[in-house]
């Protein structure tokens, strides 16, 4: 069965994520960060940041409310039970610190099929409260047996 490519180009409603100091610390501990700029707001301020700094991969936290719904969009017909996360790319701009408000917009970048696998590529664009692009994410999901 060929994949449905009609949703390519579809853009979803933006989501807003308010970045909390304790959430950054919790995430940083879970991924094993030892740099104090992620764990101690006084150390972060002493290093010149406004507050604790989100590790770059914290992008998955502020993007999550935006990139989750497209996977379950009935227009895309993505078989979630057969899906694996195949690849991921992030491009970062200015660092994110506690207190920032990040708006993320997801879109369908590509849908294709090759050798019985469906390739679903989503893009997320995240900007902070000053309008600076802090992250562009490219999320590639692979569905077996399409």
């Amino acid at each position: 069965m060929p994949v449905n490519t009609q949703a390519i180009g579809k853009t979803y409603s933006p989501t807003l994520y308010a970045v909390g100091r304790e959430k950054i610390k919790e995430y940083s501990r879970a991924v094993g960060e030892t740099n104090l700029v992620h764990l101690d707001h006084e150390a972060a301020r002493a290093a010149g940041y406004a507050d604790v700094v989100a590790p770059p991969m914290f992008a998955v936290v502020y993007c999550a409310p935006s990139v989750g719904p497209p996977i379950f969009d009935p227009e895309i017909e993505l078989n979630f039970a057969m899906m694996v996360h195949g690849g991921q790319e992030f491009e970062w701009g200015p660092v994110v610190v506690a207190g920032d408000e990040i708006t993320t917009t997801a879109s369908v970048k590509d849908i294709s099929e090759k050798d019985g696998r469906g390739y679903y590529v989503f893009e997320s664009i995240s900007v902070n409260q000053r309008g600076e692009q802090v992250c562009r994410g490219t999320w590639t999901d692979i569905v077996r047996g399409v």
Partner: protein
């Protein structure tokens, strides 16, 4: 900051995710897919047991770059492919080599492996140096 000339290795990262790491990462990231936190569910869908979150493993690859470069603001881009499966209670080793270095930027080729098997491959990072 590590000396990042072409062909140089970045300092390796070794970390052993403990038995409860996937539960802590699920809470920290919001990804509660049961294949990561429920042993019975994971086995029922044909996995050897609970597996690591791929994005946790990617975070270890990212950490190798930021530690080599001297801080989070140096990592400008990271792309990875997820292959195989990582498991808890086994050491993850991240290694990387500088492929290009010019004009204040370096490109690092990186892999993450467990017990000799790659769990993240073709990772490519761009950092400012």
């Amino acid at each position: 900051m590590a000396d990042l000339f072409i062909g140089a290795s970045i300092p390796e990262v070794r970390v052993t995710p403990d038995k409860y790491l996937t539960a802590r990462y699920a809470g920290a990231s919001g990804d509660f897919n049961p294949i990561h936190i429920d042993e019975d569910f994971a086995r029922a869908v044909g996995l050897p047991g609970r597996i690591l979150h791929g994005l946790w493993s990617m975070a270890q690859v990212a950490r190798a770059q930021t530690e080599a470069a001297g801080g989070p603001e140096h990592l400008k881009r990271l792309s990875v492919q997820f292959r195989g499966m990582g498991v808890p209670e086994q050491e993850v080793l991240v290694t990387g080599t500088v492929r290009e270095a010019a004009d204040g930027r370096a490109t690092i080729d990186t892999v993450a492996e467990q017990d000799g098997k790659q769990i993240i491959r073709n990772a490519e990072a761009e950092i400012t140096i």
